[in-house]
């Protein structure tokens, strides 16, 4: 448990022949921390998340997630690692349109048996997020706010060690945003998950343990501002 949730050293990344997107000398996120990561569009936020989730390869330097060197995992092992240890919430349209709420929430566990083993009670998670009554509904009938809670429930079920949320509140109005964040905090505390919350909206930043400005620690962006 001593290994940090995220440890980056001398990480550089570019898409094929494109310009360097990331040049991060050092980044550490300890376990259980709630981190707010902000930066303007194009500052490399999504790229960084791709590295952490093990979807992007071909970087230099070292990326360790939960003590696991991502470069040492190949192909399906990386997918399995992501599916088992990381919860991921997108900005919006998080859900598979042709599955019910319950099916969406339980899908990661069914795709990755290891995650399935740790998966707890769906109803309990749904209750904590206030969507218990929606479990058998089709996801297309839900409001955006409800959809984001379903996404959160899916990301939280099975208590992943790391929860990555990529601007999950940007489609919500102010009240819903506050409420969603509270729910996220409560549940992360319950499962002792590390939360990496990405947004360009700094009004939420105060609620987090730590605020990180990507532009500050990403040298690539300082030399070459986003187009």
């Amino acid at each position: 448990m001593s290994a940090p949730a995220v440890l980056l050293r001398d990480v550089r990344f570019r898409y094929r022949s494109g310009p360097e997107i990331l040049d991060i000398p050092e980044l550490t996120i300890v376990r259980g921390e709630r981190v707010f990561l902000f930066g303007p569009s194009g500052s490399g936020k999504t790229t960084l998340l791709g590295l952490l989730a093990g979807v992007l390869a071909g970087y230099t330097g070292s990326v360790e997630v939960l003590g696991q060197d991502m470069a040492k995992l190949r192909g399906s092992a990386r997918d399995a690692f992501r599916g088992t240890h990381i919860g991921y919430i997108f900005q919006q349209f998080n859900l598979i349109p042709y599955l019910t709420v319950r099916e969406n929430i339980t899908l990661p566990g069914r795709l990755q048996p290891a995650r399935g083993k740790q998966a707890g009670d769906v109803t309990a998670v749904a209750q904590r997020l206030g969507i218990a009554s929606l479990l058998e509904r089709g996801v297309t009938e839900l409001s955006v706010g409800q959809q984001q809670r379903v996404a959160a429930a899916r990301a939280l079920l099975g208590g992943p060690e790391l929860l990555i949320a990529d601007e999950p509140t940007s489609a919500l109005d102010f009240d819903h945003r506050e409420r969603f964040l509270e729910l996220l905090f409560e549940n992360c505390a319950l499962t002792n998950s590390t939360l990496l919350f990405v947004s360009h909206d700094r009004s939420l930043a105060g609620k987090f343990d730590r605020q990180l400005s990507l532009v500050d620690f990403n040298r690539a962006q300082r030399q070459e501002p986003a187009a």
């Binding site: 989730a53 979807v55 399906s76 997108f90 795709l111």
Partner: protein, 424 residues
């Protein structure tokens, strides 16, 4: 795998319209392919069963195919007749159960006139054990009675009691006026039910009738003026049958057939030949069978078009589904699972198409079997798929699965390019 299968199923169900259209198009082409296969089998069966229970066809020595063609299909002509004496000899042979004599050479408005006896109506069998039945009237009782095949009656719109004139020779169309046996008209005494065999396309009179119309002819030429014999002076008892063209023969035991065939072929009194219809029918089928190959090639292309339709519909759906793929990636589905998902989808589509095709073709064959038999003389069997049918089904299923790899590869490329970033 079960998870992916249920995902594929639900994803297809979600795009119900596209899915049903794709399944329908594969189903239709599958039904067409199986239908053609059934028609092929049906055609071959119908053909092989044009006559049944006939062990030998006997005629003057010549080509065996020719003998079959003029005796069974009423195509072409005999070069020689056989004597009535020889016919009587074989008819009374102890191994013979029954015979049906045919005397050919005259026609009526393009349809052949066949001289035969009551044996024809009693013994002729087709499609295994079906016998001739009358739609109206009965078999010819007098020398100038004629029975019509159902096609003849339908084409010329004849009814019982109508008077018709037969012509010498078998040239198509109306006979040459000089060759008409106009002085000896025939009366329609019966009309046969449809048999869907060449029987329908002929007229039947008594052997004596053939003799009667030619009684005053000499050396194949019409009588000189003043030498005509009026019909009123002709009585059946006075008519002598000199020769016939061929006859069908049934042996008392099947084992006797080969022995009898050898005996007839080596008959000293007259140069004759006996053929086994089944063997010669098969020979004939082989020569005309290329038509069915052509039909088959066409259907194979229809199947290809159906499968291409599936490819197009899956491929075009991928752009709308990029987000779905990114979500699946984010929750731990690797590229392998993405590929498997799409291959399963196309496999399911092909499977559903095959099922729909099979159901459709059996429904259709069942519903239209009587109509097809009536209209086209084709007996299409309603039966489980033939080995060839199963082969088609398996091939289409396999092709459907293989085709799934094309959109799957595209989806795989998309997920590599998109990663977890989502493009709407």
């Amino acid at each position: 795998m079960i998870v992916l299968l249920s995902l594929a199923w639900k994803s297809l169900r979600n795009r119900l319209l596209t899915t049903s259209l794709t399944v329908l198009s594969i189903g239709l082409s599958m039904a067409l392919l199986l239908g053609v296969e059934n028609v092929r089998v049906g055609a071959r069966e119908s053909f092989a069963n044009t006559i049944s229970q006939t062990d030998l066809i006997v005629g003057a020595r010549g080509g065996s195919l020719q003998l079959l063609l003029y005796s069974v299909f009423r195509i072409g002509q005999a070069t020689n007749n056989i004597s009535y004496e020889s016919y009587q000899h074989w008819k009374n042979h102890p191994a013979v159960a029954w015979t049906i004599p045919y005397s050919l050479g005259d026609s009526h408005r393009g349809f052949r006139v066949v001289g035969t006896t009551e044996d024809f109506y009693q013994h002729l069998r087709f499609r295994r054990d079906r016998r001739l039945e009358f739609d109206a009237g009965r078999s010819p009782q007098g020398v100038f009675d004629v029975v019509l095949g159902s096609d003849v009656a339908a084409a010329l719109n004849y009814k019982l009691g109508d008077k018709i004139v037969i012509s010498h020779g078998v040239a198509a169309g109306r006979g040459i006026a000089d060759n008409d046996h106009a002085d000896k008209p025939f009366t329609v005494s019966g009309i046969l039910k449809k048999t869907a065999t060449p029987v329908d396309r002929s007229l039947y009179i008594q052997l004596e009738g053939i003799s009667a119309v030619h009684i005053d002819w000499a050396d194949g030429a019409p009588p000189m003026p003043g030498e005509e014999v009026p019909a009123s002076k002709i009585a059946k008892e006075n008519m002598k049958v000199e020769q016939i063209t061929s006859f069908l023969l049934r042996c008392k035991t099947r084992i006797a057939t080969l022995q009898l065939q050898r005996e007839i072929n080596t008959y000293k009194e007259e140069a004759m030949q006996a053929i086994i219809p089944g063997v010669t029918l098969q020979e004939l089928w082989r020569t005309i069978g290329y038509a069915e190959d052509a039909l088959q090639v066409v259907t194979i292309f229809v199947i290809l078009v159906g499968l291409l339709g599936m490819l197009v519909s899956l491929y075009t759906s991928l752009n709308e589904r990029r987000r779905e793929m990114a979500i699946l990636r984010a929750i731990g589905a690797g590229p392998g699972k993405i590929i498997a998902l799409l291959v399963l989808e196309s496999g399911l589509l092909a499977l559903a198409g095959c099922v729909v095709g099979v159901v459709m073709i059996y429904g259709l064959s069942f519903a239209f079997q009587p109509v097809i038999e009536q209209q086209f003389g084709l007996y299409v069997p309603v039966q489980p798929p033939t080995p060839a049918g199963w082969l088609y089904l398996g091939t289409v299923l396999l092709a459907g699965i293989l085709i799934g790899f094309v959109p799957a590869w595209k989806a795989y490329r998309n997920t590599l390019a998109d990663g977890l970033s989502i493009r709407v």
